[in-house]
Amino acid sequence: MTESRRAALVAQLVERLRAHESWAGETHVQKSTYVLQQLLGVPMGLPFQLYKFGPFSFELRDLLGQMRSLRQLEMELQPYPYGPKLTVGPGAPQLQTRFPKTIRKYGAAVDFVASEVGPLGVGSLERMATALLVQIESPDAGAREQAARLHAYKPHVSVEQAVEALGQVDQLAGRAQEAGVTLAA
């Protein structure tokens, strides 16, 4: 997928996150995009790796910076002591004009992720996205083994929390199937 088409989907995602009352900080966009790509199969082609707060894409981070410089996204400062939210900027509507088919094709998946993942806090997002990463890395491992792996990656996440997060991913995958927004296994 080209960078501009990715930008169109990211702008759509941010708009839907705000509509679903997500905090919509950068971590929310990172983890939502990871779920969109890895669980729902939207082929954004972004490389993710395990980093701070779970799977993280440096290409996505740079894309967000570029979108800010093009005023497709803006940072919305929040009152002390909180971090900022992202919001769409005056340069965003043109992306819908330029990529109507892309937005039409993946719009339902974007809205599903925004509604399901967006309202979570950063701690929950970290656990759930890392659980998804562990499931992708070791699909044949049992839940206990996967939970142990998640705990090894993120020692501040207990094994019990890891088991719970793995279950959340399974439930999310099930709801995505029911909603018909899963594009790939």
Binding site: S4, Q49, F53, G65, R98, P155
Partner: protein
């Protein structure tokens, strides 16, 4: 064993290299950095910018050590930070040594002229970090690590940071952040100060002494919302007293990008250099073989470029001559803020139209923005509350993102191209639906 040395440095006064570290300092891979310009051809715009990766790497080692000493000082540790920092002094000493040599080695994979066109000049999926790793894992360096009782995996993890795909634990992630961190990394602090000094662009200066003294290992800044639970994964932040020095760093970075790194003439020289290298190098790319890499510096490229500039039959002659004779392309178009709001793809559309009109050899397109870190980091208040920098500072959330966005045209066609553009700009840059290939996998 060699003796320790103190290297004079224009920024840090002295950088001490311990006896054991001389094994790294003296090795060919590190000495090669004496011949890699820190800012590529930037010296054609700012004549003082002839400094090299060698002194920068020494500076990163010095600053990383200072940061390490501050953030691991028992008096500066929160309970949470204490849980990840080794309490065994031997382990702490080991990691300090790993950090120092990782800082020395972090740029050993750089191609000639540093970052210029790395993506186009290396095989897909590789980067200068791949070459840095190859250096660290080379037989000669493995012998060095053996003598120093250091693990090469640890050095690679810290030197390459997030570029190394091996997941890092919380402690290793903090150490890697000390070198390569997006906000407070020693690499960034040193290059801003050093580039500012050598270019003569004073906007790049800030109070790094105060900044480093205020750095702490902290939990991340809070977010709000219905589920406001934050992660507890630690990161680097500052005390409230260091906030102004952090603001000064962020502003310095913005100004250095605007004034130096994304200067239009510097950008077009980078493009001419890339064009020359693609014509001159076998298969248009640098070799990933370690011996080839170590043998290739700015000296070899400069000699080839100088020769090619005089020989019309040499590969890359046209591009080499443009650099040697200062006949770089001129700026045809730089979109304004309102142009970009109307259509961010307008400049690319203009480029494509100009190529159709004047030919691919006469036109170049450049778009680059600095990486997208949002300058949000934790700040610990005097009452120990941790808050977001963007809430605590009136400045940080308002610093714009610097961007380079140009269409260049050869100076021989400039007058004609400018007249053509003036007549057709509105039509060519109008928003339009783009080709969307929605086949499988798209």
């Amino acid at each position: 064993m060699s003796r320790p040395i103190q290297v004079r440095d224009p920024l840090h006064v002295f950088v001490e290299v311990a006896a054991a570290e001389r094994l790294v300092f003296d090795c060919p891979a590190f000495q090669r950095l004496r011949h890699i310009h820190q800012l590529a051809l930037c010296y054609l715009v700012y004549p003082g910018a002839t400094h090299r990766r060698f002194e920068h790497s020494l500076g990163v080692m010095e600053l990383a050590s200072r940061i390490f000493d501050v953030v691991t000082d028992q008096g500066n540790l929160t309970d949470q930070a204490r849980s990840i920092v080794p309490d065994d002094p031997h382990k702490l000493h080991y990691w300090r040594q790993v950090l120092r040599v990782a800082a020395l080695c972090h740029d050993t994979g750089h191609l000639p002229f540093s970052h210029a066109a790395e993506k186009e000049l290396l095989p897909a999926g590789t980067s200068h970090e791949s070459l840095s790793e190859a250096v660290v894992r080379s037989p000669q360096m493995l012998q060095v690590w053996k003598e120093m009782k250091l693990d090469a995996d640890d050095i690679v993890a810290l030197a390459n940071g997030p570029a190394d795909e091996t997941p890092l634990g919380p402690w290793e992630a903090i150490l890697s952040e000390i070198i390569t961190g997006n906000v407070f990394g020693a690499d960034r602090i040193d290059y801003l100060l050093r580039d500012s000094l050598h270019t003569g662009v004073a906007y790049g200066r800030f109070d790094h002494h105060r900044l480093i003294e205020s750095l702490r290992i902290l939990p991340p800044a809070p977010t709000g919302g219905t589920d406001a639970e934050s992660s507890v994964e630690p990161t680097l932040g500052v005390t409230a007293g260091g906030l102004q020095s952090a603001e000064a760093l962020v502003l310095a970075r913005y100004f250095m990008f605007s004034q130096v790194y994304l200067h239009r003439v510097r950008r077009i020289y980078d493009i001419h250099l890339k064009d020359f290298l693609q014509a001159w190098l076998p298969d248009g790319r640098f070799s990933l073989e370690l011996d080839d890499h170590l043998a290739m510096t700015d000296n070899e490229v400069n000699a080839a470029m100088s020769s090619a500039a005089r020989d019309p039959a040499a590969p890359g002659h046209v591009h080499a001559a443009r650099i040697a004779e200062r006949k770089h392309f001129k700026t045809l178009y730089k979109p304004t803020a309102s142009d970009v709001e109307r259509n961010a793809a307008g400049a690319k559309q203009l480029h494509d139209a100009a190529v159709a009109k004047f030919g691919a050899e006469e036109v170049r397109y450049d778009r680059y923005s600095k990486d997208g870190g949002s300058n949000v980091f934790p700040v610990v208040e005097r009452d120990d509350r941790v808050v977001a920098s963007s809430g605590a500072s009136d400045v940080l959330g308002r610093v714009p993102t610097a961007m380079s966005h140009y269409v260049f045209v050869s100076r021989e066609r400039y007058t004609e191209a400018h007249a053509w553009m003036t007549t057709n700009l509105q039509d060519i840059t109008a928003p339009r639906a783009e080709d969307e290939d929605l086949e499988e996998g798209q």
